[in-house]
């Protein structure tokens, strides 16, 4: 009896310490600083909640008892399930309740002056996606910052390169324009997922003749490509070139304010590879100039930039995935390098069937691990 008492006691004490220590270490998701807090003024017969809607995630309520009775504050879910509560709020006291609400829906807030009864209820709407993301170590935030910097740098190059290309078109210098065309497009193709998010600009800048919507004029890069390689400069080529510069500048100014999410980065990386698989590998994209491999390389660069930015976050959640991604990227880049020609690439039409197939299977092999990234990052 005595011996067992002692050992039980010691074991219990140890377990409790561990439990408490473990619990204390639970880190939250987003910063719940005081400025995000929802103020609640609890009176003897009132319960004023500053806002009755919030996004899913960590909610912080700052409850101040302005009444004369001790009060409690509850957040109820469906069927009066208690999501969180804070008790013992004596008059004049301010206490904080942090609740992690993961599911959108209608919740209820309640103040209970005198700690009794059903309390003074009010509806509270929670919106947004389920499953607030955990960002231990801030890797996700760092990833979006780093990729945003990459996008900004590419846009910084896209504008002057496009201007140079447009100047050559306007000057009627066809050879120079032809050599500048794939260079300017490289910076566009690297950030294609971001650029395509502006649904009004994308078709104007990068629309292909065969896929334009009803009533849309054929403008932008591909219109000028056709002029340069097929028909020769036309009377309105200069105007189209000016329009292209204006559209690219508009894109640049809009990109500055864009907000990216880690999941968007991961999806973008996958989209770029899909672009390669559906457009570049088939030679459809640059059907007049056959500079598809430039775009191909640029898409792969953009995809890799997004994955590189996410690397610490991926590593944190899946230790083996980054190595797989690295080998597949390296393999694809090695194949592309075989087709380099001076500063650029061989024309798409110069590739053999076999070489196209090789590239296609390398893209597929890379697409498979890249498609896992979004899910890994969201976990």
């Amino acid at each position: 009896m005595n011996v067992s008492h002692k050992s039980i006691a010691a074991a219990t004490a140890a377990a409790l310490l561990l439990l408490l220590a473990a619990c204390g270490e639970q880190e939250g998701a987003a910063d719940a600083d005081a400025s995000d807090a929802i103020a609640v003024k609890a009176g003897d017969s009132s319960c004023e909640v500053a806002t009755t809607t919030a996004k899913a995630g960590k909610l912080t309520f700052e409850v101040t008892n302005e009444g004369s009775k001790v009060t409690e504050f509850y957040l109820y879910g469906e069927g009066d399930r208690i999501m969180g509560e804070v008790e013992n709020i004596s008059p004049g006291l301010t206490r904080r309740l942090i609740v992690d609400v993961r599911r959108a829906g209608t919740y209820q807030t309640a103040c209970k002056p005198g700690m009794r009864g059903e309390g003074i209820r009010g509806d509270f709407e929670v919106t947004g996606q389920a499953g607030a993301q955990q960002d231990r170590g801030g890797h996700l935030a760092a990833a979006t910052r780093s990729y945003k910097a990459y996008v900004d740098a590419e846009v910084e190059k896209l504008v002057p390169r496009t201007k140079e290309f447009a100047e050559a078109v306007k000057a009627g210098d066809v050879e120079r324009a032809k050599s500048l065309f794939p260079v300017a497009r490289t910076h566009w193709e690297r950030i294609e997922p971001v650029a395509e998010s502006f649904a009004d600009l994308d078709p104007k800048i990068d629309g292909r003749e065969d896929v334009l919507g009803e009533g849309m004029a054929f403008t932008g890069f591909h219109r000028l490509e056709k002029d340069l390689w097929v028909s020769g400069p036309r009377p309105d080529s200069a105007r189209i070139a000016e329009q292209l510069v204006a559209d690219v500048e508009e894109l640049a100014s809009r990109t500055r304010g864009i907000e990216l999410t880690p999941v968007a980065l991961a999806n973008g990386a996958k989209e770029l590879l899909d672009e390669v698989a559906t457009g570049k590998i088939t030679g459809e994209e640059d059907r007049y100039s056959h500079t598809d491999l430039w775009d191909f390389q640029a898409n792969v660069d953009g995809s890799k930039a997004a994955i590189d930015a996410l690397r610490p976050a991926i590593l944190q959640r899946d230790a083996r995935l980054p190595a797989t991604l690295d080998t597949r990227f390296a393999e694809l880049n090695r194949l592309l390098d075989k087709h380099r020609d001076g500063d650029g690439f061989r024309r798409y039409t110069d590739l053999s069937r076999q070489e196209v197939r090789e590239l296609a299977s390398a893209v597929d092999a890379l697409g498979e691990p890249v498609s896992k990234v979004a899910e890994v990052v969201a976990s």
Binding site: T12, L17, Q26, E27, G84, G92, L93, R96, M115
Partner: protein, 288 residues
């Protein structure tokens, strides 16, 4: 404003202070002063841990989910009940041995391991320690924000709880030994029953046990928790104004079983020197 904070401090501090003071009195009366350091160690660990975890919860975004909090509180309470029950029966044996004047045998009969003493003190203080620490930080922050009333009231309440416990200790030390054990034992039975009910209620709130809405009674009108007598009842016996059926049944069951066992005549008393029949002192001997 000041008064209601005082009551909260008193309520949170009272039970822990009572259990610790009874334990100390018990060790002092049975000449086991050597074990006192384990009491203070257990109390210190609980206080330091509560303050530390309370600080983490207050000043970082770390948090326990509501369910975790309640599961922890509930589990701690139920473990505490086990230890207090153990203590009750140690006391019973002590009173029998002392009544039988078997001083020599006392030490053998009352082998309380240091670890048991330590854990008991730790649980008594730590069970409500975290909640109390978090409340304390909130009071401090409110004080920085302009009103120190809650902090002041809370401090007064804790001080009153400690003073009451000290008075109980003083009285206990002067008491006739056999009676001391009986009275404090009975008191502890009710304390432990309250802790058990409280723990089960926590588990119900965490949805670990069903029946949160099935109330046995709701006395919030007659005996509100925010009145001074309600606070005292809650502090000592974990009275709750809205008691669920599960809570009530656990309380009744525990008291019925443990009190019967505690007060049953000892069949093993081989001596004829009948002990002074322990008058079942009512709790009114406790200074209120």
């Amino acid at each position: 404003m000041l008064f209601s904070s005082t009551l909260i401090g008193l309520r949170e501090g009272l039970e822990a202070a009572l259990v610790v003071s009874i334990l100390v009195a018990f060790l002092v009366r049975t000449d086991r002063r050597g074990a006192l350091r384990w009491v203070w160690l257990g109390v210190s660990i609980a206080v330091v841990l509560s303050i530390a975890v309370g600080a983490v919860l207050t000043y970082t975004t770390a948090q326990l989910s509501f369910e975790q909090q309640e599961l922890l509180g509930g589990a701690l309470s139920i473990v505490a009940v086990a230890f207090v029950t153990g203590m009750i029966f140690w006391m019973r044996r002590a009173s029998k041995s002392i009544a039988a004047e078997l001083r020599g045998k006392l030490d053998d009969a009352l082998k309380i391991g240091p670890a048991a003493v330590l854990v008991l003190s730790f649980l008594a203080v730590g069970r409500e320690g975290l909640e109390t620490a978090v409340f304390f930080y909130a009071a401090v922050q409110t004080a920085q924000g302009g009103t120190s009333q809650p902090l002041l009231g809370f401090a007064i309440g804790i001080a009153v709880a400690v003073a009451l416990a000290y008075l109980l200790y003083r009285g206990a030390v002067r008491f006739d030994l056999g009676r001391f054990f009986t009275v404090t034992g009975v008191l502890l039975v009710f304390v432990a029953a309250g802790v058990l009910g409280y723990g089960l209620h926590d588990l119900q709130e965490a949805r670990f046990l069903p029946g949160l809405d099935v109330l046995a009674f709701d006395a919030s009108g007659v005996l509100p928790e925010d009145s001074w007598y309600g606070a005292l009842l809650k502090g000592v016996f974990n009275y709750s104004q809205q008691t669920t059926v599960v809570q009530a049944l656990a309380w009744i069951g525990y008291v019925a079983i443990v009190l019967t066992l505690f007060l049953r005549p000892d069949r093993e008393t081989r001596r004829d020197t009948a002990p002074t029949a322990p008058a079942t002192g009512s709790a009114s001997t406790v200074k209120e």
